[in-house]
Symmetry: C2
Subunit: 242 residues, 2 copies
DNA sequence: ACAAAAGTGTTCTTGATACACCCATGG
DNA sequence: CCATGGGTGTATCAAGAACACTTTTGT
């Protein structure tokens, strides 16, 4: 231990511990992020990731769920995906004081209440590719969230977290194409998904029209599986970093 | 923000922020962990992961490097792998006060100084499969570190972090076999590694005897690549969790 | 009839698997 | 000359990529 004299609660300048959320969804065929506009300095007027303090009696995970509910209005977390990304702790990341933030990525299906004002600023959905410079180090957090989600689509069943309870394979494919930014071959995607036991299960008689025209598509639900074996690798962009 | 009145440094019970390190190495064909014996309550006499406070002017990463140097005596971090795992923040994880810890995994090649006492307790290498119940939630942190490392061997060049600067393909294969706990086919492993550009590069004329007997093995260095495409998947343990 | 979207089938190529076999060294 | 570990070759099989083609709907 660095502090041989033991734990003195006030031995150090206090650290604030917060959570920041990269809440992602797919709307109108684009990847969108939930952002709040800052009302005060620093970074007044800039967009920022929603977040807040971890309260004395809760874990970072509990704080993240709470913030997610406050910001989006979701009440029932089932089917929702919330995952810890990493912790950002550079001393200068908030000019006011030492703030260590535990970042989370949250994935929601399409219309998760456009924006519900839990407190302070109003939350808004913005297109992922059109977010200007964000407050603090939130650009980096958001980029890390995107990287992580893109990578996890390859070897987990995470994509269903972007879909409503019942979805078509075309919609599932759009998740991959939108997050990765590459088109996929429909027949091969279909086979791959159906060949993975527990990825999706068909809703017996159901079908739905998608683009207005065209053959109605069969509906599927997320299956019980979480991992994908073998993985669904994205088209060979050689030397992709992790 | 949960605190509309702004940032008051002392608005909350202070959080302590620490780092904990799961330092792994391969010695004598087994996976080993660096642990320290606790001298005081709580968990006096128990083994624990090395760690310590994040100081007011350093990031968690800097604190982790500092602790690693103090605990192992390594001075030159080049070639060493240190990676943030995740943050553990359950309110009750330390009975004395609220401690949020950022956990790291560190990978070292074989003999990184058996144990150098930076401070407090003496550090010791213990076999990974023989660690009894650790202090705090360190069992879980260590298990998470093992999972993460095992998974990253599949799709990154991480394995070389366990090897000295020059190593044989047999040694590299042992890394995989020891961490995964499964034997691999030597010819196929060899081809796979050599077919991945930038994974390893041969040291021109060099060769070394390994088991005393047998043909001397060619030596390799870690290449510049970090990702593995396509991945080197471990033998199909169906439905492996992530 | 045509466009659009779902769904099926087929071929070709690549990579993984499971071996058999040869090479160099120490005892 | 045999055991031991490094290194090569090869046949077989499963998975991925590419693309032609059929089906069902709306206009």
């Amino acid at each position: 231990m660095t502090s041989p004299e033991g734990y003195d609660k006030y031995a150090f300048e206090p650290f604030a511990v917060t959570v920041d959320l990269a809440v992602l969804t797919l709307r109108a065929g684009t990847l969108q992020v939930l952002l709040v506009e800052r009302g005060q300095e620093p970074y007044a007027g800039r967009w920022a990731l929603p977040g807040g303090f971890v309260l004395p009696d809760e874990s970072a995970e509990e704080a993240a769920w709470r913030e997610l509910a406050e910001e989006t209005g979701v009440t029932d977390g089932s089917g929702l995906h919330l995952e810890q990304l990493r912790t950002y702790s550079e001393p200068g990341r908030d000019p006011r004081m030492r703030v260590v933030t535990v970042a989370f990525a949250a994935l929601l299906p399409d219309p998760p209440v456009p924006h519900g004002g839990g407190d302070a600023a109003q939350a808004q959905w913005l297109r992922f590719d059109a977010v200007g410079p964000l407050a603090f180090d939130h650009d980096r957090i958001l980029a890390d969230a995107h990287d992580r989600v893109g990578a996890k689509l390859e070897y987990t069943c995470l994509a269903t977290a972007f879909c409503p309870p019942e979805f078509t394979l075309g919609e599932l494919q759009q998740v991959y194409e939108t997050v990765w930014g590459t088109p996929l071959d429909r027949p091969n995607f279909r086979r791959k998904v159906l060949a993975t036991p527990g990825f999706v299960e068909q809703v017996p008689g159901a079908a739905r029209l998608t683009g207005g025209r065209g053959k109605p598509a069969a509906l599927y639900r997320a299956g019980g599986a979480t991992a994908l074996h073998p993985p669904l690798l994205r088209p060979t962009t050689e030397g992709r970093p992790r």
